[in-house]
């Protein structure tokens, strides 16, 4: 029997998501955003979700659509303000969705910490700003730092370029971004991949995310390009 994490149906891949799940969604802007997995989650219909991502979605596809479907209660992100971010803005202005703003590097490190078994770490980022309010602080060598806590999730949705049956991943250019660290930080990591490759093609020196951090893989050969989809006014579902 061989390890093989490939799932044939994208709907099966997200079938374990439940109401009230916390879900990390990879990507920075459209680069590395697992749009098709999010669409499968819209089909799945789970509600009261907490989303951890860098942004709060653009247009009415992907995360923008998920929010538009009112499946999301709360977004934890660094940058929810964009002229293309329609659905989040609509709900935020009516107090219908909660927002936790986290500095981008702190967000990344909190996610990596969860994956690395570190419950908390100190950082100078945000010291003296409103985002330090309510946080413990501590001096190291005469300088003030605040305590930031690990951020984990029930699921991570990730987009990769190549994956083998073990879940060894590589990414395309700046589509790497949050994806590798989110793979580490969730109880179940689900990956949409452009190319499912034979394990013999995996170079052990070039694996970015080792399979130990991956649970399910689904192949999406021609993922939607967000810029084009928004220009064309595409909407999901």
């Amino acid at each position: 029997m061989e390890v093989n994490k490939l799932i044939n149906s994208i709907n099966d891949a997200v079938s374990e998501v439940f109401d009230g799940s916390t879900i990390m969604i990879g990507g920075f802007g459209e680069a590395g955003s697992p749009v098709e997995l999010i669409h499968a989650l819209i089909d799945n219909g789970s509600r009261n979700l907490t989303i951890i991502a860098n942004n709060a979605g653009n247009g009415r596809i992907g995360l923008g659509a998920l929010i538009g479907q009112r499946q999301v209660n709360k977004v934890i992100c660094s940058f929810a303000r964009s002229h293309k971010s329609i659905t989040f803005k609509e709900q935020y202005e009516k107090n219908e969705i909660e927002l936790e703003v986290v500095p981008q590097g702190t967000l990344a490190e909190r996610i990596r910490s969860a994956g690395a078994g570190i419950p908390g770490f100190y950082t100078a980022t945000a010291v003296g700003t409103p985002l330090a309010n309510g946080k413990e602080s501590k001096m190291f060598d005469g300088k003030e730092y605040i305590l930031e806590k690990a951020l984990s999730a029930d699921f991570a949705f990730v987009k990769a370029e190549n994956a083998d049956r073990y879940g060894n991943l590589s990414f395309n250019k700046t589509a790497r971004n949050f994806n590798p660290i989110m793979c580490m930080a969730a109880k179940q990591t689900i990956v949409q991949v452009k190319n499912f490759i034979d394990v013999k093609e995996t170079d052990p020196e070039k694996v970015i995310t080792p399979g130990i951090f991956v649970d399910k893989i689904v192949e999406v050969k021609n993922p939607l390009i967000e810029t084009h989809a928004i220009e064309n006014g595409e909407v999901y579902p």
Binding site: F28, G29, E30, A31, G32, N54, S78, F79, A80, R81, F88, K89, Y92, L99, V101, V102, P103, Q104, G105, T106, L107, A108, E109, I111, R112, T123, A124, T125, A126, V127, G128, T129, P130, L131, F171, N172, K173, T174, A175, R176, N177, F178, N179, P180, I181, I208, I225, E226, T227
Partner: protein
């Protein structure tokens, strides 16, 4: 103070001229992060005889110029989410590694815009307190980069000073700015205030003082 009476004259250096002054101050071989907006102009003015390595916090070191139409890859973008290029010797990394470069003090200079700067180097540039609060990587950059260069108009569009005794807006970082480049002048930040390093030839010192709420040291 007579904030509201100052006019928004387009006095002093143009944006390109400010960008060029900053470019002159980037040492050969330095690692530089250029903030979204006005600071992006800087790279155009770097002299041929030196090489700067640009960092974009979304996991790109060795960033090249914006992508031409035939070069666009929507998965090769900068922190402003615009398609860019990568130069030979560049590399990609994930977000935790990219912000390790920032937080760990490996970025020599970060150039950022400002809403307000105080005379002790506090910076406010992320929110007016209205609308959706969105910080991005600004707080990490100001806390982590070795030098924070602010590039800004000297006055707001309402003609009010941006170089203040104390910031009134929510801070991005405390005592983080090391240098301020405006259309009127260039300042270092010292314990006692804005240290004047250069003044535009069309601006006289009294006018500069009137346009600057924070203390200027000559």
């Amino acid at each position: 103070m007579m904030k509201s009476k100052l006019k928004t004259l387009k006095l002093g250096w143009t944006r390109n001229q400010i960008a060029s002054k900053i470019a002159n101050d980037l040492p050969h071989g330095s690692y530089v992060n250029l903030g979204i907006g006005m600071p992006e102009l800087v790279s155009q003015f770097v002299e041929e005889n030196k090489e700067i390595i640009y960092h974009s916090e979304n996991g790109l070191l060795g960033m090249g110029p914006p992508a031409l139409e035939n070069e666009v890859d929507y998965e090769l973008i900068n922190a402003g989410k615009k398609p860019v290029t990568i130069l030979p010797g560049g590399s990609f990394c994930h977000h935790a590694d990219s912000f390790s470069m920032i937080r760990g003090g490996h970025i020599d200079i970060c150039v950022l815009g400002a809403m307000e700067v105080s005379e002790n180097g506090d910076l406010a540039n992320w929110t007016t307190g209205k609308g959706i609060p969105a910080v991005g990587g600004a707080m990490d950059l100001v806390a982590g980069a070795k030098n924070i260069f602010v590039m800004t108009d000297h006055l707001t569009k309402y003609g009010e000073p941006k170089l203040l005794k104390e910031c009134s807006l929510p801070l991005t970082g405390k005592s983080v700015v090391t240098r301020v480049y405006t259309n009127y002048a260039i300042f270092g930040i010292e314990k006692s205030g804005f240290k004047l390093l250069e003044i535009n030839e069309d601006i006289n010192f009294d006018y500069l003082k009137k346009c600057t709420e924070g203390k200027i040291i000559q």
